[in-house]
């Protein structure tokens, strides 16, 4: 479908009941448009959207019964928290006492029972997020669409809400499609991940599969694989180290690229380790990233490795140190260069 100058191209995905799918990708990848298509806010030019096997492509949003929480939460500013949560129930024509009970239950579930009479303009980011979630969940929808719902919150609130979202997903058996540009967020919540880029869905698989076996360079970069060496076929002389690593005739790599997982590289200072390919290198930088250390290396090409705190305490790598870099076979992946 096209939206202004933006288009979604041939996106096909199936989400099973009870799955928590995170659609991840950089800003402008088309994640939100895809979500809004599912919610019924845009109509695709071609293709179909099915819910439980029923074609809902031309169904208006109010008839789809899908819970939707947009990025800015879109709370109605002229209503209180109670009125916001009750909005959908009132549209269903429920009796007042039923509405009150359901709203109170939803508010308690989201731990905002004490906020019900509050004006939404005076809520914190986390409270607004919880209100928006309660407003969607109170309608007992089976599918919940979350658009960057945690991106505007501070780290502590994000962590708290992530846990709560994971609990809700398990307790209510919800099917969730959650759009995010934060891979860590996707990793901590999702059962499955879809990686979007420039209006295309590049890979859709379980979290583990996407993380360990990315299908293309963009996915690899998005999941944090720093050592990606593209377009080998174009100029083999520029990457002799990588051709050694892969140990394949360089022509076979045309149109593809090699990537090496930074967390699977191993180091030794004296002599090569027992197995795998070993190349010499020099440490250029060591950066402390909390629980991990990132080591930037010069091995003919620039490479990045990550070490655990214990590994770094043993090796004590410093800029300028000469090391032997051991690359196990499972650390090397050949991917589509796209």
């Amino acid at each position: 479908m096209g939206l202004g100058e933006f288009s979604l191209h041939d996106v096909s995905l199936t989400v099973e009941k009870g799955q928590y799918l995170c659609l991840a990708g950089p800003t402008g990848a088309g994640k939100t448009v895809l979500l809004e298509c599912i919610a019924g806010l845009h109509r695709p030019d071609r293709g179909a959207i099915r819910l439980h096997g029923c074609d809902v492509t031309w169904l208006v949003p109010e008839a789809r019964g899908i819970g939707y929480v947009p990025q800015d939460y879109a709370l109605f500013p002229h209503m209180t928290v109670f009125e916001n949560i009750a909005y959908g129930l009132r549209e269903q024509g429920m009796r007042k006492e039923v509405i009150t009970r359901k709203v109170r239950d939803a508010a308690e579930t989201m731990q905002i029972g004490y906020l019900l009479e509050r004006d939404v303009l005076h809520l914190s980011g986390g409270e607004r997020q919880r209100t928006a979630l309660a407003r969607a969940l109170v309608l007992d929808c089976e599918l919940l669409l979350l658009d960057e719902s945690l991106s505007a919150l501070d780290v502590v609130t994000t962590k708290e809400l992530s846990l709560q979202l994971a609990d809700l997903h398990q307790q209510l058996g919800l099917t969730v499609i959650h759009v995010t540009h934060d891979f860590d967020e996707a990793f901590s919540l999702a059962t499955h991940i879809g990686i979007c880029h420039q209006g295309r869905l590049l890979q859709l698989d379980t979290v583990e599969e996407v993380f360990t076996r990315p299908t293309c360079r963009t996915v690899a970069e998005f999941v944090g694989i720093a050592n990606v060496f593209p377009r080998l076929g174009a100029d083999p002389q520029t990457c002799p180290v990588v051709s050694r690593l892969y140990q394949s005739p360089i022509q076979e790599l045309a149109g593809r690229c090699v990537c090496i997982r930074p967390d699977q590289l191993r180091f030794s200072r004296n002599g090569p380790p027992a197995a795998g390919l070993t190349i010499p290198g020099t440490v250029r930088q060591v950066r402390w990233l909390g629980p991990l250390h990132e080591v930037v290396l010069d091995a003919g090409v620039s490479m990045v490795a990550t070490l655990s705190r214990q590994e770094q305490e043993t090796l004590r790598l410093r800029p300028g140190d000469s090391v032997n870099i051991n690359v196990p076979d499972e650390a090397v992946h050949v991917l589509d260069d796209r």
């Binding site: 208006v60 109010e62 947009p70 879109a74």
Partner: protein
């Protein structure tokens, strides 16, 4: 005391007088211009107020002619404002939502009544409803030129742009996500408009109503061109002032002016209390 060390060091006291002098001159110039404008408006108003004494003001305001013009003014202005707002709300919503190739053309066309000279607007109305449609409408018993109904049409034509502009600004300020979310919560487009968009545009709509009302109140050019100035027939307050000045009854003219001023001040007060952005001091 030891000098602080480091690439950047900030100590407690700094000399910034040179910058402050420039800033002070800038502020004084701006404040001077504001004071001049306030003084000018005040002097003009005071000159009007002291021209008539209380006794002649009371006599003029209770005269049958003034009472007639006040009544006719309030009735016509209220009807034209009501009609104008009734159309302005859907029209402004359409303009706010529609983003297409014709947006600029529609915008320009709608702004025409603002830039067309008032007398020319009245003449255009006279030609349309007098020359072209006059006979046909008279046959149906609805002849507009030189009638009180015509006053409403002239006021409506001159004020509709203001109404649409005010309401459109209110609609533009509402995030399109709000009605979109209302749709996902079960509202059809009408319900989403009534329960979400309309209440959020409420202040803009009320401000637009007040602005249109005050604009109609002082409208003179199109009315006198389209409806003439006949005593006890098409005599609204602005035409009453014109008629009284033309026969040398300055006291009555000033009384009419003061009444218009009181109305205008009241509407401005309401308008500002309702919070038109950029016009508020409180």
């Amino acid at each position: 005391m030891a000098e602080p060390q480091g690439a950047v060091a900030v100590t407690g006291r700094m000399q910034i007088d040179r910058h402050q002098v420039g800033q002070r001159i800038f502020r004084l110039t701006a404040a001077g211009a504001l004071l001049f404008e306030l003084a000018f408006v005040s002097v003009v108003l005071i000159a009007l107020i002291i021209y008539v004494d209380a006794a002649s003001f009371m006599r003029s305001i209770t005269s049958p002619e003034t009472v007639f013009s006040i009544k006719l003014t309030i009735i016509t202005v209220t009807i034209s404002t009501g009609l104008s707002m009734l159309l302005a709300v859907p029209a402004a919503y359409a303009m706010s939502v529609y983003r297409g190739r014709l947006s600029t053309v529609i915008d320009t066309l709608l702004d025409l009544p603002i830039v067309v000279p008032p007398v020319a607007a009245g003449l255009a109305l006279l030609i349309l409803f007098g020359y072209y449609l006059g006979d046909a409408m008279e046959a149906k018993g609805l002849f507009l030129p030189h009638t009180q109904a015509g006053i409403v049409v002239a006021q409506f034509f001159a004020t509709m742009t203001y109404s649409v502009r005010s309401v459109k600004a209110a609609f533009d300020s509402i995030s399109p996500r709000l009605p979109a979310v209302a749709r996902t919560l079960g509202s059809n487009p009408w319900r989403a408009f009534r329960r979400v968009t309309l209440p959020l545009a409420r202040n803009g709509i009320i401000a637009g109503t007040v602005l249109s009302w005050s604009r109609c109140l002082g409208l003179f050019g199109p009315v006198i061109m389209f409806c003439g100035a006949t005593r006890f027939k098409t005599e609204i307050l602005p035409t009453s002032i014109y008629l009284n000045v033309s026969v040398g009854q300055l006291g009555e003219a000033v009384t009419g002016t003061l009444i218009l001023l009181i109305f205008a001040m009241l509407t401005l007060f309401v308008f500002k209390r309702l919070g038109a952005p950029g016009l508020l001091f409180w």
